[in-house]
Symmetry: C2
Subunit: 198 residues, 2 copies
């Protein structure tokens, strides 16, 4: 594709092609997925193929972690009732009520103080892998923190020694489809990037 | 490509094609990059095109963060002397001495207790975006923690109120090129993934 026109949507990528998306696992180029990922919080009523959800989960499972500890469990929720209940566990989770699915990322108690931060870093890596795997398939994603642990535990049946750390809502965008974004709302490159030293 | 043979290296992807990799930014499909990323800690002496390094950094810059806070700075290091020095700031950082480049992820002091974990989660997301952008271009990556903050600060000139959180070493693999991995060393899918509830 022509990298000089980053907003162009390549034919047959996220837009409907001769093969319906829901029955193919054809994705897009990595750089397109990285540039097209955005927070999506309103979703169409189109359901997500189970095979596609499994691919998103597989991307998370494959993520790296400190000493390959993999201290995560992923709960896939697709039923409307628990999605609606989960939308109340955090002030920024309302969009889960209308999502087609959500993946809840669960952590055990860290076995040492230093893992408090490391496990979060590793969950961040797994999250990004899943967001990009979803984007690759045209699926919008919007993640959220979890405030009310008691409620999350009751809704999902997680054990008392686990924490519901984050939730990733999934669904096809209700508004515009995913496409590479030319100028994302971010700090300028030359402010973020230091060359050689600070 | 044929997804049923995940170890196949697509022609013209990571392998040398008619167009030399170093002068093109042609990448691979997202799902291939996700499956091909692995920790690479021994590197060939081939240098990395500056344009490719910038693309990796741009992937990090575009990452999502809580309330779009973007509490990160990235220091790109390509000179041999500081790379060798950085290889001593953590017991697991020896591979930086032979890397072609490293990106050091720097965080400010969190402004509230709750950001201690959130900033780490966000750094994890930025890290994964950069690892996959590197993989997309055939560049191997191996990240590392930072133990000796004093040393890192001295080597890179970071202010006293910043922490060198992680380092990402980059270079073309000295052994086998990147290619999708069929069976990564991870917990089984059905153990990690819970359906509906715990």
């Amino acid at each position: 594709m022509d990298l000089s026109s980053p907003d162009a949507v390549p034919q047959g990528y996220w837009t409907a092609g001769p093969e319906p998306r829901a029955t193919s696992l054809r994705g897009v180029e990595t750089w397109d997925a990285i540039r097209a990922r955005r927070n999506v919080r309103s979703y169409s009523d189109r359901t997500i193929d189970p095979e596609h959800l499994d691919r998103v989960l597989e991307a998370g499972r494959r993520s790296p972690s400190a000493s390959n500890r993999q201290k995560w469990d992923f709960i896939l929720v697709t039923d409307r009732a628990p999605l609606q209940e989960l939308s109340t566990v955090w002030v920024g989770a309302a969009h889960l009520a209308v999502a087609q699915a959500a993946i809840v990322l669960v952590l055990p108690e860290p076995e040492a103080e230093r893992y408090v931060t490391i496990d979060q870093y590793d969950l961040g890596q797994a999250t990004m892998a899943m967001l990009l795997a979803a984007t690759d398939l045209g699926i919008g994603s919007g993640h959220s923190a979890v405030g009310d642990q008691e409620a999350c535990r009751r809704i999902l049946g997680t054990p008392a020694d686990r924490t519901c750390a984050y939730m990733i809502a999934l669904g096809y965008p209700a508004d515009r489809p995913l496409a590479p974004i030319a100028n994302p709302d971010r700090r300028p490159f030359d402010e973020v990037v230091h060359r050689g030293r600070w």
